[in-house]
């Protein structure tokens, strides 16, 4: 039993929760300074 959760559906929900948040964090960090093309052209 991982993390005290016996059911694979609930456990995967718990882990995906952490994973999707990390995805947001990593995406934000990697692209922190990207996508600023307009401020220079405007």
């Amino acid at each position: 039993m991982i993390l005290g959760i016996p059911d694979p559906w609930v456990l995967s929900g718990y882990l995906l929760l952490i994973f999707s948040t990390l995805l947001c964090v990593v995406y934000g960090v990697i692209n922190w300074n990207k996508g600023d093309e307009e401020s220079s052209s405007e």
Partner: protein, 536 residues
């Protein structure tokens, strides 16, 4: 709890919100300022404002309580909230919405769709859906907040309604979207702090993450009988596949609310308030953290409250609160957390309600002023702040009046109702607007009308909870819903109406003449493969 301290805390909070609203008012000079914050919002403000609008008190107390009764399967909703509601919404939908909205010079979500398809009908019809559909959702949030002020401050319910309406109306009417977003950033920050502390403290008093979950798993023999009867299996296990509980959890809660968020006008308009993709990239990080801690904490703590109550009182949460699951989270906080946190948490709940409410008022007001009145009157591009302010005032009065008369059955379904209608009406057209150049004006209109018609039919006649809550089906046919057989009465409107609306949008588009290529070129300028070319 000391009421004097609580009143002081609330007063400080109201003063802070008032001050931020005042700053917003000083910076609001044009229609663009009033509706999309001059396209210059800071990513932190944008992300927290988006999150605080998205998460209302009901999401924390209502769904948290539901997790107390039904268990951690609800965490899948948070997964979708973060993955769809933030990651997909910001990156896949948000970036194109921002760019296209800028190309088209649109200031509201209906205006965005209308200009994309060159159709005034889309603007006032979509504005109408928002203006007439949202008051139920807004009054549900208002009622929740007023009930909560009634219990925490011992204020009269009607007085609470009035106080809240006046305060929120003041900063939305004067400050416009800046008033909404700045105050939401403050409210979101309070919410974030409150929820992070709540999560950490709960795990800490229960001996750690694995220990707390294991204790909850071991409580399974005490899982409530009524939850077992509809297919529940335990707090840390998923319900039986195909059972009424499974359908309700997967279709309404996880898919309905999780996907429905993508087509919420009051959220989509936020993408147009930032200057460039860089702000959205940064906001993804902040928004993801905000959502995981707000909804995730509520579900985890709601479920784990069983361990605490069973340990202290020998009862599971539902029994401790006498069956009223809305009281699980407040009861847990009162019993388990330090007293100072009770004040913080009450503030968190008030902030969550006010932040959702302010966005609703703003979306409704601009729908009436900009999308309906100005479009029908044909006087675009005038400085229309006054008109929108009048629209907002009407929205506030409408929500206030509805709060006094709405029956309980409707209140319980108000949020799901509006999410369902919006997703059904807008999701297919919104996605096609952003990604399929071949979509035509006629296709878009067909998508919106088929989605709204089917969703209303489904909500009134088929979907059990709403059909029973509204009572229209019973009035017309004598039966509370048209099809009694499972699983139809448990299938959320979004599962049915969104695919149908997609089919209508696509088929009608393919059958009608493509839009003018030059116009499409202008709409998509700088989007997709051409982004780099135009950037030079």
């Amino acid at each position: 709890m000391d009421y004097v301290i609580l009143v002081i805390v609330f007063l400080i909070y109201f003063l802070l919100v008032g001050y931020v609203g005042y700053l917003a008012w000083k910076q609001t000079k044009s229609s663009e300022d009033f509706m999309i914050a001059g396209r210059k919002t800071h990513p932190y403000v944008m992300a927290l404002s988006y999150g605080a609008t998205f998460i209302s008190t009901a999401a924390i107390v209502g769904f948290g309580g539901a997790a107390g009764q039904f268990g951690m399967g609800l965490l899948w909703l948070t997964v979708l909230n973060v993955f769809c509601g933030i990651f997909i919404a910001f990156i896949i939908m948000g970036k194109r919405t921002r760019k296209m909205g800028h190309n088209l010079g649109s200031l509201t979500f209906p205006e965005f769709l209308s200009r994309r398809f060159n159709s005034k009908f889309i603007q006032y019809f979509s504005g109408g859906i928002i203006f007439f559909g949202m008051p139920i959702y807004a009054s549900v949030v208002l009622i929740g907040a007023a009930r909560f002020m009634e219990t925490s401050l011992s204020l009269n319910f009607h007085l609470s309604l009035l106080v809240l309406s006046v305060i929120v109306a003041a900063y939305v009417i004067f400050g416009g979207i800046k008033g909404v977003m700045y105050t939401e950033a403050v409210q979101g920050t309070i919410m974030l702090f409150g929820m992070v502390f709540l999560l950490i403290f709960t795990y800490w008093i229960l001996g750690g993450v694995t220990e707390a979950h294991t204790a909850l798993t071991n409580l399974a023999p005490h899982f409530p009988a009524d939850a077992l009867a509809i297919g529940g299996t335990g707090w840390t296990t998923f319900p039986t596949l195909g059972s009424p509980f499974w359908w309700s959890l997967v279709s309404t809660t996880i898919i309905g609310v999780g996907i429905g968020v993508l087509a919420q006008p009051q959220l989509a308009v936020r993408f147009m308030t930032v200057k460039s993709d860089r702000e959205l990239n940064r906001a993804v990080l902040m928004g993801g953290i905000f959502i995981v801690f707000s909804t995730g904490t509520a579900f985890i703590v709601g479920a784990l409250s069983n361990v605490y109550f069973f340990d202290k009182l020998g009862q599971i949460s539902v029994d401790v609160v006498g069956g009223n699951i809305d009281k699980i989270i407040p009861e847990f906080i009162n019993s388990a957390l330090p007293e100072w946190f009770v004040y913080v948490f009450l503030l968190t709940l008030l902030a969550a309600a006010m932040s959702t409410l302010s966005s609703q008022y703003h979306a409704q007001g601009t729908s009436l002023g900009r999308d309906i009145y100005e479009t029908l009157k044909n006087n675009k591009n005038v400085e229309s702040i006054t008109l929108n302010r009048i629209g907002i005032l009407i929205a506030v009065v409408l929500a206030f009046a509805l709060s006094l008369i709405l029956p309980v059955g409707v209140v319980a379904q108000g949020t799901a109702l509006f999410y369902g209608i919006c997703a059904a009406a807008f999701l297919s057209v919104y996605v096609c607007a952003l990604y399929w150049k071949r979509t035509t004006k006629e296709g878009a209109i067909a998508g919106i009308i088929s989605g709204i018609s089917l969703s209303l039919f489904w909500i009134i006649f088929i979907f059990g909870k709403t059909a029973e809550g509204l009572g229209i089906c019973k009035l017309l046919t004598g039966q509370s819903m048209l099809i009694q057989a499972a699983p139809f009465s448990s299938i959320d409107v979004i599962i049915i109406a969104v695919p149908i609306s997609f089919i209508f949008t696509i088929v009608v588009s393919l059958l009608t003449k493509p839009m003018d290529p030059e116009y499409i070129e202008k709409v998509y300028k700088g989007i997709g493969s051409k982004a780099k070319v135009s950037g030079k």
